[in-house]
Assembly symmetry: C2
Homo-oligomer: 328 residues x 2
Amino acid sequence: MSIRIGIFGYGNLGRGVEAAIRQNPDMELAAVFTRRAPETVKLRTEGVPVLHADDITSMTQKIDVMILCGGSATDLPVQTPALSKLFNVVDSFDTHAKIPEHFAAVDSAAKEGGKVALISAGWDPGMFSLNRAYAEAVLPNGSAYTFWGKGVSQGHSDAIRRIEGVIDAKQYTIPSDAALEAVRSGVCPQLSTRQKHTRECFVVAEEGADKAKIEREIVTMPNYFADYDTTVHFISLEELKRDHSGIPHGGFVIRSGKTGFDLENTHVIEYSLKLDSNPEFTSSVIVAYARAVARFSKEAKSGALTVLDVPPAYLSPKSGEELRKELL
Amino acid sequence: MSIRIGIFGYGNLGRGVEAAIRQNPDMELAAVFTRRAPETVKLRTEGVPVLHADDITSMTQKIDVMILCGGSATDLPVQTPALSKLFNVVDSFDTHAKIPEHFAAVDSAAKEGGKVALISAGWDPGMFSLNRAYAEAVLPNGSAYTFWGKGVSQGHSDAIRRIEGVIDAKQYTIPSDAALEAVRSGVCPQLSTRQKHTRECFVVAEEGADKAKIEREIVTMPNYFADYDTTVHFISLEELKRDHSGIPHGGFVIRSGKTGFDLENTHVIEYSLKLDSNPEFTSSVIVAYARAVARFSKEAKSGALTVLDVPPAYLSPKSGEELRKELL
């Protein structure tokens, strides 16, 4: 029997989940839930109902895993605990500093409901976390580095858009080649924030706006840009739409460490992602973890989990025999 | 209480395990077992007994996990099933085609003994297998490629040494840059054996040997060299010792895949290793999995496992709370 998936929230991430389900023949999309008027939401999959978020309790017997596609700032801290009392769930909560608190809230709700809730699936947190954990366990005497990009940072793009005189903007985070090479050489360098990444901004300004002032406001903005070398390009709205409408991202997790009695040997482990679409890749990770959640639920487990708690085999539709034969 | 480790077989791998244990404060080396005369084996760790392989039954209560450091050709197919009746074990069995059969033999023995046996730990099989499995689960619509090197292939070096007139030899497997770039571009190329890797041989010939004949025998050797572009360099024994005494290795697992309703987006996942010492890195992986085996054993599990069955968190000495806070 197929794993019946529900999607809660139909934005970029929800649409990515919808597309990802089509690549997994052991899954089917059972329903999409929205806080908008359901009749205004048009799915790309035929024959799947769109229901209002308030009608969710009617579907508890028809959904094996609910995938929560809201944002980490205000949606998921409320939705994941609430829904994990009723459904097995997966979310992509990505506010790193608040993960312990989110985990605790979801764990207690999921245990109350006898459900399995996997939080923080995606690529960071997610695939990058796995790689940080594996590499640290294998090379305890070493240092790990995470680099992000080249990719679009939604938060930084939004921050630029809030500046007076700005119509639209896109910000790219770019890892420094020199820093990457230093880390790959195995020397374990000390790197400042400024040395690790640069930021590049493409800005559409209103006609007659003071571009010098906008640029100054961007590059000196605390937390967002002040600690980085930032380049600002002013372009037309047409250029922005033509050249910067994608949502690419990616990054690197690199750990180098020493082994041997006299620590005479150096090893470098590198994991990298180059993604055309940040939300679609995140969705693909989430969907694989939905399979793991369905399996844990069949084993009568309950409570919160993260990617670090899941055996890799649980992500695959293949049997243990097939995996050992084909992939080991 | 520390995890008490036994080492069975004290060659390159056994010495690597001995060194790796020192980097893991929750472990201690309890004993080393050898088929040689124990008094001829000198450990680098003080105060640890060296016992004869025949005396192993006297130590069943003093060892939590036995690490088997023999070879895959003849040692492990016999030793892992035999010892997994008495001990929790980890091995690094790496004959890919025979893994299903080895797994079955070890599984039945370990279940008989109520022990946990993790087979095929290392980097391939091992870390590379994990990455093949994760990437396939996340990007089911795609293709995966494994490249090895640059590194020393022991089997190929041995094959050259068996040629008449050869004193010593070292063979490097080298991934083709062009093939790597094609795969990284996301086009999913069809690659022949010859296109993926080249082989470079450093050979010390006897004085007066027919070098042209040796070279011909190498490059035409079926299975080992005939399907590759192979370069042969004749060097002196001094040069071989000076420039080629290390055991470096490494490689790449790259998967690219498509997402989106119209498969319009391409993603590339790349995992790579650059290792100064192949046996020491393998040992480091094995030791991390020994920790997982000790945990499974405490949970009263028994039977055979592979890296695909182990939650990443089980490899770490850190608690779930620490992992979520520091690494997720």
